[in-house]
């Protein structure tokens, strides 16, 4: 519109105004938007606006072979792709009655925890950036890159590994990988006190994040909150322990909780989970050489594989919460229906809309990052 054609609209006098927050905004994770109604700096109501990342995965998967979808699923969540592959593979294995060799299960656990470490470093790095502490973000991204190097060595892909297939994993662990992984864990563990000093014990962060976006345990259960966000309200629930899959029941780890339910608690839970993931990875590194055997079980010709009819609902604990796949087969070479239940479909929509009310405008980005909402999971 040319400036000479512009005519101001006459609104009735009001202290309220609407603000479009996103989709291109540094305080928004991924492509996502909010319409917030403000009075001064206080948020009166927020409305999530998704769809900017909709790629129609569920429809696409119905038109592709079972094995082809392995290349599609990790793209549903960019920062944490491994749980997507594993969960989809678990569903097919349940339908097809495949028994995954033990060695493959341990390799899967190793990848899942590597992915969790990388995603958590990304998550609180992003949170730090929304409060102006960019150093934490740079450190987090740099340390995540070291994990991606190991992913590259193991799978050939840095971000999307496409390494888990129904029946096991694609390749054997390279020689010397476990030693390099072990020294990476030593390095990451030595970095944790640095992160504490820089971020988690930083008064700027604590004062900004305390009591921001707080919810009680009751509210969290009512709104369907899962994962670290639920544990930050004091409930020790983890799919890895309470609905175990793979070999998590043979591993020794704790489930960290925090009582506060606010943005600070959520980040402290992630901080404690870094330590637990390192602990799990050390156990895997210790046990994996003694577990010999194949890395995948024989599967039918994947290009003409008619998975037996049936349905299965598999859940895993991703870094963001409960991730589930509902897969229906009618005995054909393609899935009849795949439904992805991403944890962020709760966190980024209802929970965020509820938590944003009454907060200040500058905290909206902080609340979103503290929930670790992942918009591609919402849009799918």
């Amino acid at each position: 519109m040319r400036p000479e054609n512009y005519q101001a609209k006459n609104h009735p006098p009001s202290h309220e105004f609407e603000l479009n927050f996103g989709p291109n905004h540094p305080g928004i994770e991924g492509n996502y938007a909010f319409k917030v109604k403000l009075n001064g700096d206080t948020v009166l109501s927020a409305r999530a606006d998704g769809g900017y990342l909709h790629r129609g995965f569920e429809k696409l998967m119905e038109g592709r072979l079972w094995i082809q979808n392995i290349a599609l699923v990790p793209r549903i969540c960019v920062p944490d792709p491994v749980p997507m592959e594993v969960c989809y593979s678990l569903a097919i294995e349940e339908l097809g009655g495949l028994e995954v060799p033990e060695r493959a299960q341990w390799i899967r656990v190793m990848q899942l925890e590597m992915s969790r470490l990388a995603a958590h470093l990304f998550a609180f790095g992003g949170h730090a950036a929304t409060t102006g502490m960019y150093t934490t973000m740079f450190w987090g991204v740099a340390d995540r890159d070291l994990i991606l190097d190991r992913f590259e060595e193991l799978t050939g892909g840095r971000v999307y590994s496409i390494y888990n297939i129904p029946g096991g994993v694609r390749r054997e662990v390279p020689d010397g990988f476990l030693e390099r992984m072990s020294s990476l864990l030593d390095y990451l563990e030595s970095r944790l006190p640095d992160y504490d000093n820089l971020f988690f014990r930083n008064q700027v962060f604590i004062k900004r994040a305390r009591d921001v976006g707080a919810m009680t345990q009751e509210q969290a259960l009512k709104w369907g909150v899962t994962g670290p966000n639920l544990r930050a309200t004091g409930l020790a629930f983890d799919v890895r322990r309470d609905d175990p899959y793979l070999v998590y029941d043979q591993l020794d780890f704790e489930i960290p909780t925090e009582p506060g339910g606010d943005a600070l608690s959520r980040n402290l839970v992630r901080r404690s989970e870094l330590k637990q993931s390192i602990r799990i990875l050390r156990q895997v590194i210790e046990r994996l050489p003694s577990i010999r055997g194949p890395i995948r079980c024989p599967i039918p010709n994947p290009l003409a594989w008619n998975v037996p009819a049936g349905e299965s609902y598999t859940r895993v604990e991703s870094s963001k919460g409960e991730l589930a796949y509902y897969v229906v087969s009618t005995g054909g070479d393609k899935p009849y229906r795949v439904h992805v239940r991403g944890p962020s479909s709760m966190h980024a929509v209802q929970v965020l809309e509820n938590l944003a009310v009454g907060s200040r405008l500058e905290d909206v980005a902080q609340i979103m990052f503290s929930l670790d909402a992942c918009p591609p999971e919402v849009d799918r």
């Binding site: 259960l221 369907g224 609902y313 509902y326 229906v328 229906r337 439904h339 479909s345 209802q350």
Partner: protein, 183 residues
Amino acid sequence: MSKELNIWLDNLLSDIESVQFQRRNSRRVRVDVGSEALPALLELLQGRASYVHLSAITCVDWIEDGQFELVYHVWSYETRSLVSVHTRIPRDPGVYLSIYDLYQPAAFFERDIHEMYGLYFEGSPDMEKFILTEWNGPPPMRKDFDGEAFVNEHFHWEQYHPQWLKDLEEEGGGITVRPEDVR
């Protein structure tokens, strides 16, 4: 744990008729119920058997039967088990009841199903478009919507031949190093 679960389920199922249930393993139960009894069953599961977490609602389009299948996955933090409640409703007119009163997360799933399948949930708080705001066609997840045919009909991607591509082809087809130059 499993014994406790059995007692709870037996108590529950004695209250409702026309329920079939199938135990798949120690933590997965499948229940098939008529569409008129489903809200009551969910209310019992939530109120009397601690299934407080609605994990997901899935819609499956069984076009040959002329039915939609709705699957409600509910999880109990106490008994650590997941009950999948299956029900079938006619595809036409495609109206069902919302369970938002029982489970608040249902609002998102019902809105999503309405958008992708055109199934309307009475009593759901929000049936507005969320993902497909600029889409006016039929609900795309229905089996009678063919995405590939739609693309071929509406987007002439085979005729896409812009000037920059022509220029590139004149210079050697987009290959910067020709095979004969490679030593």
